[in-house]
């Protein structure tokens, strides 16, 4: 076999993006097919049933559960405001009556004569979905959401922290090998998406939060720095809900690693453009990678992801990046793909390939330990 399949991250200078924007539960879609929308326009909304306030009213009134329905002053389905008298006990011979005044507002949902518990349901909680990228509504999924079509520069990162953010692209580093340090973060980057080069330091992230940057994107991060930023050791790669004051995206991996040159140059060419970013990452079945989406004015975009790491077949001449130690981060071309499994230094037998580095060195690495990047 002269080629092998390997997954990669999508990086494209120009592509037509179909962005699915769906509600978590059924609701109402606010736009129609063909409508033009801005990134922060609300395209669908829903109400999830309000919070629940359970209360053991029978014990609060000192009556048995079976007697509670007779003490209720409000009916099921009736509105209750804070301070409303909800129930009153019958007392003894009309004396020693006891009342309960509601401490929560909502609708009386149930009264149990078995447990003596009542349930008050609060106001419905609105959920809104924004368009996320400016573009045209391509499809409406009734009660669920929409698909927005947009011409964009699209860059997937490998790992991120934090949710959706919007801002202008600011380049902080001069080249992809330059670490993103504190001194490179400027006050004028407020509200923007800061692009670094290699590893982003803990101090740089703190400074970015302090100046109010929307997001920070760079090649790598040290795990110890990430732990310091989050305040805990991240166990499982399911992220997106963190609230650290900014969104972080790394494009290559953990440690001292520079951003892929093409990715960096792509950002360089889009400085000053408005971008939508999302740090949400899920590395499980249904994998989700963080992304930076920069709308373009050009309408001639194709669906082809033409730069950076790509999905495809490994074959002699393919450009690859090694993604595991001891050669982590090195880039070269596939020189050969021996068919027979080879015994590795670890003693395991695996199918390998030979990578020729730019300096002429040849390395043998397992096929599982490379990803294809655009040549």
């Amino acid at each position: 076999m002269a080629h092998a399949y390997t997954p990669g991250l999508k990086v494209s200078r120009q592509t037509k993006l179909h962005c699915r924007r769906l509600l978590p539960i059924s609701g109402k879609v606010l736009v129609e097919v063909g409508d033009l929308v801005e990134a922060q326009d609300v395209v669908a909304e829903a109400s999830i049933p309000g919070d629940i306030f359970p209360l053991n009213l029978a014990s609060l009134l000192g009556v048995s559960a079976a007697d509670l329905p007779g003490c209720m002053l409000k009916n099921r389905g009736e509105r209750v405001e804070v301070g409303d008298e909800l129930a009153r006990s019958k007392g003894i011979f009309g004396f020693f009556k006891k009342s309960y005044f509601s401490r929560s507002a909502g609708v009386l949902e149930s009264v149990s004569k078995i447990t003596g518990q009542i349930i008050l349901r609060g106001e419905p909680i609105p959920v809104q979905v924004r368009a996320y990228v400016p573009g045209r509504i391509l499809e409406v999924k009734p009660e669920q959401g929409v698909v927005v079509e947009s011409n964009v520069t699209f860059i997937q990162g490998i790992f991120g922290i934090g949710g959706e953010q919007y801002g202008k692209i600011h380049l902080a580093c001069e080249n992809p090998e330059q670490p993103l340090t504190e001194d490179l973060i400027k006050p004028e980057m407020r509200g923007g998406v800061i692009i670094g080069g290699a590893r982003m330091t803990h101090q740089a992230v703190e400074k970015a939060i302090a100046v109010g940057a929307s997001a920070v994107v760079s090649g790598g991060i040290d795990d110890q720095d990430l732990k310091n930023i989050l305040g805990y050791d991240l166990g499982v790669a399911i992220t997106g809900t963190e609230k650290i004051g900014t969104t972080l995206i790394i494009t290559e991996g953990f440690g001292d690693i520079g951003m892929a040159r093409r990715t960096f140059e792509l950002f360089q060419s889009r400085v000053g453009s408005q971008a939508s970013v999302n740090g949400a990452t899920q590395i499980r079945a249904g994998v989700m990678r963080p992304e930076i989406v920069i709308p373009t004015a050009d309408d001639s975009a194709s669906d082809v992801f033409d730069d950076g790491a790509v999905e495809g077949f490994l074959e002699p001449g393919s450009s690859v990046r090694i993604i595991r130690d001891p050669y982590f981060g090195m880039i070269g071309q596939v020189a050969s793909l021996p068919a027979e499994p080879t015994v590795l230094g670890s003693g395991s037998k695996a199918r390998v390939l030979e990578v020729k580095l730019d300096d002429g060195r040849k390395l043998v690495v397992p096929r599982a330990n490379v990803e294809i990047i655009a040549g």
Binding site: D223, L226, V236, A237, G253, I283, R324, P366, A368, N369
Partner: protein, 600 residues
């Protein structure tokens, strides 16, 4: 599903649809015995662009067909049945854990009693238990409701109260679940299945509490009396609903269900099934472990009682970072006998997490991964031991003789001294370059005591055999014995803490291997004893140490060999490694050398 006479079954096709890979095996009757002959695999296709599980199934089956030279699919990619010469198979069966498997929420009145029984029923059926709600779980009602709302389980198991016992508390639980309106994980078009398996007298009021938003069903109480658990009906109902609701809403499963000759089982449920069958047949106590990328499943059968736990975030790729966070880097590095930099390792762990399919290239990377595996397995086994307990809440009659020894309920039934067979499966154990490494990881993590046979599942065939045991037990047992297990050998270990510098036990071996000698405290020794060889091992422990017959008492047992051999372990239990008092790096290096872990 067709009914076939078991005697007419010559060719069996089985698949296991995992989250990432669909594995197919072929079992054929050769010279009157069932043997596993060919296997094939293909990526699972439950997600876009295929979004149809049967695509992966036909791909895996095509590979088997190609290897076997047997036509298994017709022009329309339908499985050909029955077999006829070099064509088709007689039955087709499957398990599935694709799409994250079966995820459940369970509830019971008392956490340690009915809620624990409900959890055991769910886990035994092969589910991942997302949370356990109980009246005494220390959360306020609104917090419990909030939690129920956040989760999107596939189904809910509600238990509570013994038959004739509390009604009020059971209804109270129902009153928490009903208004929370839990949403099922797949799609919002089907109603959340809720199984009621509690106090029979609370059924009517429980029924009244729920409206038509849920699909409520009732089965026998999981805990009809305090001293009696009845998990079977709840497990059966879970399997039924798994097929009817969860599977039927996963992409392509309606088609797959119509293809199979037996109900599709959740993968871990099938593994538990075969382990139980074997333990019952041979009258042994057995533990099985399956360590994957995201989760670690532990199965045990002690004195006929089956338990399963799933440690949802202990695994070797997706969850590797969580293992390091839970175990701490210090505990992982105590198993490493070469110099490594912690900062560098932290980054490597995270890089493995974000690119989970990479494999260790260097010996150093392998040593580190196997150290992580020891900790993942150790933590998973601790969780298992804490869960697999005798029934709590059972009143026990004490006599004067029991005054100092009487155990209260809730003692772990996992007893390493009684453990006869320890079976390993999962990438890091199954694909270790040397089987010695598999044996060492098992011993270090599980700390078996006395005489324990070690084995590994050759190609993770247990799920297929678990579902096969439902329709053709004889075929399942034959294949299990002949093709599924690869015996690594036997570990003989003493329990207790041997005194440093002193003899821990004397041994004398006769049979296919002749040897005798002394094992000093902290020593490990590997003796050659191949798979077809047997030996009688006599052990004379030092005072205070136990090898199965009691402290200081001699014991003799016949043991079987294997790919690794006979391992004598005088390190004592609990194993003390690292820290101020535990074994230092020099000692760990000696163990590595004694077992020839990283050399030929």
């Amino acid at each position: 599903m067709s009914k076939i006479n078991p005697d007419d079954i010559e060719v069996i096709l089985a698949t296991d649809c995992g989250s990432t890979t669909t594995k197919a095996i072929l079992i054929e009757k050769i010279d009157g015995h069932y043997r596993q002959t060919y296997r094939g695999e293909a990526p699972t296709t439950v997600e876009e662009p295929a979004a149809d599980v049967t695509v992966g199934v036909t791909n895996a089956v095509s590979e088997v067909a190609e290897l076997a030279g047997r036509k298994l699919l017709d022009e329309n990619d339908q499985i050909l049945r029955p077999s006829n010469g070099k064509q088709g198979c007689d039955i087709y069966i499957s398990t599935s854990s694709a799409g994250g498997g079966l995820q459940m929420l369970v509830a019971g009145v008392v956490r340690e009693m009915t809620a624990a029984s409900a959890k055991r029923a769910a886990l035994g059926a092969g589910a991942i238990v997302m949370d356990t709600i109980s009246s005494n779980d220390k959360r306020k009602p609104y917090e419990q409701i909030q939690r129920i709302r956040e989760l999107r389980p596939d189904m809910i198991l509600l238990s509570g109260g013994t038959d004739g016992g509390t009604v009020k508390h059971v209804v109270q639980l129902a009153e928490l679940i009903a208004p929370a309106k839990p949403q099922p994980r797949f799609g919002d078009k089907y109603r959340m299945p809720i199984i009621y398996a509690g106090n029979i007298e609370a059924w009517e009021p429980v029924k009244e509490t729920f409206d038509d938003d849920v699909e409520l069903s009732q089965v026998e109480n999981v805990r009809p009396q305090l001293d009696n658990e009845n998990l079977g009906p709840a497990r059966d109902e879970i399997h039924e609903l798994f097929l009817e609701h969860v599977m039927a809403h996963a992409p392509g499963y309606d088609k797959l269900i119509s293809w199979t000759d037996a109900p599709i089982m959740p993968t871990p449920g099938a593994v538990g099934n075969i382990l139980q069958t074997i333990a019952e047949r041979d009258g042994i106590n057995a533990v099985g472990v399956d360590i994957g990328g995201a989760t670690t499943d532990v199965f045990s059968v002690f004195d006929g009682v089956f338990n399963r736990t799933v440690s949802a975030n202990l695994g070797m790729s997706y969850s590797i970072s969580n293992v390091c966070a839970e175990a701490t880097m210090l505990n992982i590095l105590r198993w490493v006998h070469v110099d490594m930099q912690e900062r560098e390792l932290r980054n490597r762990v995270k890089n493995k997490m974000i690119r989970p399919t990479t494999i260790p290239q260097t010996l150093e990377a392998l040593i580190f991964e196997q150290a992580v595996a020891r900790e993942a397995l150790r933590l998973a086994y601790i969780q298992h031991k804490e869960f697999a307990t005798t029934l709590k809440g059972v009143q026990q009659q004490r006599t004067v003789g029991d005054l100092f020894t009487q155990d209260s309920g809730g003692q772990s039934i996992v007893n390493n001294m009684k453990l006869d067979l320890l079976v390993a499966s999962g990438g890091v154990l199954s694909h270790a370059p040397r089987m010695h490494q598999t044996a060492a990881m098992l011993i270090d993590a599980f700390e078996p005591e006395g005489f324990t046979t070690l084995a590994k599942d050759s190609i993770f065939m247990m799920p297929h055999l678990g579902v096969l045991a439902q329709v053709h037990p004889q075929a399942a047992l034959e294949v299990f014995e002949r093709d599924c297990l690869i015996y690594l050998g036997t570990c003989v270990a003493i329990a207790g803490q041997p005194k440093p510098g002193r003899v821990a036990f004397r041994y004398k071996i006769t049979g296919d291997l002749s040897d005798e000698g002394e094992m000093y405290a902290g020593e490990l020794k590997l003796l050659s004893l191949s798979g077809d060889q047997r030996a009688t091992v006599e052990i004379e422990p030092a005072r205070g140490l136990d090898c199965g017959a009691g402290k200081g008492r001699p014991i003799s047992r016949e043991v079987r060999g294997g790919e690794v051999g006979l391992i004598l372990d005088a390190r004592g239990r609990e194993l003390a490694v690292g820290g101020e008092k535990g074994a230092d790096r020099q000692t760990v290096t000696q163990w590595v050398n004694s077992l020839h872990l990283y050399e030929d």
